[in-house]
Amino acid sequence: MRGLTKKQGHKHAVILILRDAFIIIAVSAAAACVVNFFRSDSLPWIAARDYEVLVPCPEPMGEATAVDIGDFDGIGIRDLLIDARGRADYDNWHRPDSIHIAFDYLEPLSDEAVGRIALTKAQRIIVAGDGGDPDSGEQLAREIAGKGIKNVYFIVGGMAALKNSGQ
């Protein structure tokens, strides 16, 4: 140590820090391997198959108002009716004054769909889904409300209830 210039001293110190770090890594790895070898719930060194990572579905966040079909005053000219059912059900039958945005439990609502709703400048957004439990209409309505769109309602019983009411 003695007789080293300041620059040499720095260089030497860095080398020793790196050496010590390497020793700590080696000793830690050895200890980890030994413990893993002897423990009853040891992990295999290489996973036999991919881990099944569970990524939660996007949760609808906003508040939407439930509307019972008995209390519903019908679709007005300033309202936007959204059919949240799947493509097959929509193709089978749909109201001509509705637009189709299918609710997807895995995919979040696209910005394009939100933009499409916003562009209508409707005073009320009324969502009707499959009427199931959970109801796709309610889920989509809450997701739309979560995107910052106001006055979002969903019809209890879904599109079937709306169809049966004759409104």
Partner: protein, 166 residues
């Protein structure tokens, strides 16, 4: 003699106050690392799942990382607390923190909805956010301080040295 801990790094680094600030930093960051490794050592499979959730490492490296990393955290944390190989431990802790922050940034960029897996399993931990990144920066700074400024750390080595000299 610990040459790494006796080299004078210049006027600012030789200030004796660094030892005491460094000691506080060491106790803090060492405690964090020892605390963080406990669940990982206890339940390596849960930690492996946490690593897999980040979707960064290939499957072949996940288990190896899940087995070794917690022990590296434990040894670095203990050594930095008791004052042996302090700057090497600080280097390792800084390296691990930077590595965690990169993984976190990747997960945040990808919009992965997950817990960080830093102190608890995926099920128990809080969701990752920008605040998690700030927290990691808060953990990184004391480690860097020790690495750069704590050239004469208080601890087992300094006590041994004092005994030898005295």
């Amino acid at each position: 003699m610990e040459m790494t801990e006796t080299i004078n790094m210049g006027n600012s680094a030789s200030w004796r106050g660094h030892r005491y600030i460094g000691l506080a930093c060491r106790l803090f960051i060492g405690g964090v690392f020892v605390g963080a490794c406990l669940f990982k050592i206890k339940d390596p499979e849960a930690f492996a799942l946490a690593i897999a959730t980040y979707d960064i490492l290939p499957t072949s490296l996940i288990n190896l990382t899940a087995v070794i990393l917690p022990w590296l955290e434990l040894s670095s944390g203990l050594l930095i607390i008791i004052g042996i190989k302090v700057r090497a431990s600080a280097l390792l802790i800084s390296g691990m923190m930077i590595m965690f922050m990169i993984a976190l940034a990747v997960a945040l960029t990808r919009g992965i909805d997950m817990s960080c897996g830093c102190f608890a399993s995926q099920e128990a931990g809080d969701q990752i956010s920008v605040m998690t990144m700030f927290r990691d920066v808060f953990f990184l700074l004391p480690a860097l301080y020790v690495l750069v400024f704590d050239t004469h750390p208080i601890g087992v080595c300094s006590l041994r040295r004092a005994k030898t000299d005295g």
